[in-house]
Symmetry: D2
Subunit: 167 residues, 4 copies
Amino acid sequence: MQPIRILATGGTFDKEYNELTGELFFKDTHIGDMLRLGRCHLEVEVEPVMMIDSLQMTDADRDLILRRCQEASETRIVITHGTDTMEQTAAVLGPRVTGKTVVLTGAMVPYTFGSSDGMFNLGTALAFVQTLAPGVYVAMNGRCFPWDGVRKNRRKGVFETKPRQDA
Amino acid sequence: MQPIRILATGGTFDKEYNELTGELFFKDTHIGDMLRLGRCHLEVEVEPVMMIDSLQMTDADRDLILRRCQEASETRIVITHGTDTMEQTAAVLGPRVTGKTVVLTGAMVPYTFGSSDGMFNLGTALAFVQTLAPGVYVAMNGRCFPWDGVRKNRRKGVFETKPRQDA
Amino acid sequence: MQPIRILATGGTFDKEYNELTGELFFKDTHIGDMLRLGRCHLEVEVEPVMMIDSLQMTDADRDLILRRCQEASETRIVITHGTDTMEQTAAVLGPRVTGKTVVLTGAMVPYTFGSSDGMFNLGTALAFVQTLAPGVYVAMNGRCFPWDGVRKNRRKGVFETKPRQDA
Amino acid sequence: MQPIRILATGGTFDKEYNELTGELFFKDTHIGDMLRLGRCHLEVEVEPVMMIDSLQMTDADRDLILRRCQEASETRIVITHGTDTMEQTAAVLGPRVTGKTVVLTGAMVPYTFGSSDGMFNLGTALAFVQTLAPGVYVAMNGRCFPWDGVRKNRRKGVFETKPRQDA
């Protein structure tokens, strides 16, 4: 069993409802709870890197995520991430992370709202990260896409294949 | 995207609470609901084969599951199954299914009871079945075991590696 | 068993999560689902009057709610309402609805988010409306307040007694 | 605000799923969690008296519940109880508890199974106990029945009026 690092960056995955203001906000990551609920017995280290909406993510934030991937002692890394800019972060990591399998995943519905796709996606991401060759991938909707072959269809809320551009 | 067949056989996955008798029972499989909840966009065909507790599963039942694996046009098959005898069914399929990737999975807590590990396990199984070489596997606790290298630790409720026996 | 009318006006009770935009919005009322889930066997008529955040509620909206109370054939009426301006609406109804028991209730957390106080509050409101003398009340936090003796403590998110003003 | 005592005796309310054996069992009462979830701000004391299926309840158990009602300093008491013999316990308490309002309630689905009617019923019971005259009542399905005017329709899983017997 190879150790896996999960870098938590926020996103819908970890949004909560503030009952005083009626707004959504971030507090702590729920990845630990989700792993317990899933009865996950992998060797996993959860590292909260930031807790933000991916629409707020800056170049500096993506640099930090890249560094955390490069510096991690594990060669298998899952990143939980908002879905809105997941492909941008994947595109930063894709050409720069070598010798490691990195899988980005997210959720369309917050975990705390009960009917989340997060548990399902986290399951797929942890399975893909154990079995795929080194590279950077996006795991959503049960599928796994290479970092340069994916886009979010914002109208449908679904990830789909993007034709790879030739250089 | 390769088509996947899910053979539903029952197990804790699909148990429901009968509020008139206070007992657990089976009605229909929830796999379809779970795939919708997971926003799964794989090409999946769900086939209910039986709806039973795996402690009730007979040799004839396992023969039926085997035949459904052999006859399926898909080469990637997930079987949802009670955890109590998952390794026995895997041992029936292991030497007899060739050229196909078959992943058995299950749940410790019924899906209808809210806090289920089923969504997580279903996610892992669907990811493993897309990426692993032909063979028969058990996907539980985030891990994937070869059919002849797994046992359920009944005291802990966890699947673990079983040393393979030499012939 | 006396018939009860439920006037649904929206509020946190009925907010849903739009997974395409990440925002909260209104679609249909969930009161019918909640009554089924509660195995409620009262004679209840659910009437959606509006589906809005109570911060958006205008004088015209409150007039409409008042008219629906006055015109209802039932003498026992529950109003589901956003918590932010529940006391204002109660103050409009209080002096104007006569010979009927009217109970306003709401929720701090949307029903669709799983961990809602809505089921509990709806239960209290339906019990209070069956047992209290004619008048207008607010039922929140397990308590029942007369319309002119309640205020929302916004800092704590809790309803509390307001000293009644002498004329 | 008058203090309320909740006597927890078990019943479906508090059943949990044992994921090692696949059976339902009792551990601790969930009433405290439910009150927190309901954002209840009543002055409530929860007293676990026993944790059993009401089909197992003996005369001695009912005597104990009676004594706890009689000895309680509060004059308003809610009893959470299995639905199968709720009317028997009510019939023991009815003629023997004087000067106090006692409301028995229960659930058809365990709280831990997510889709419970328990939150709704607990809400109704706490409202009825605050508003009804001294006496012993059963609160189920949104309704409140006098102790000698109720029976459980086992086929439908619903409580209904039983014609009172003349002496």
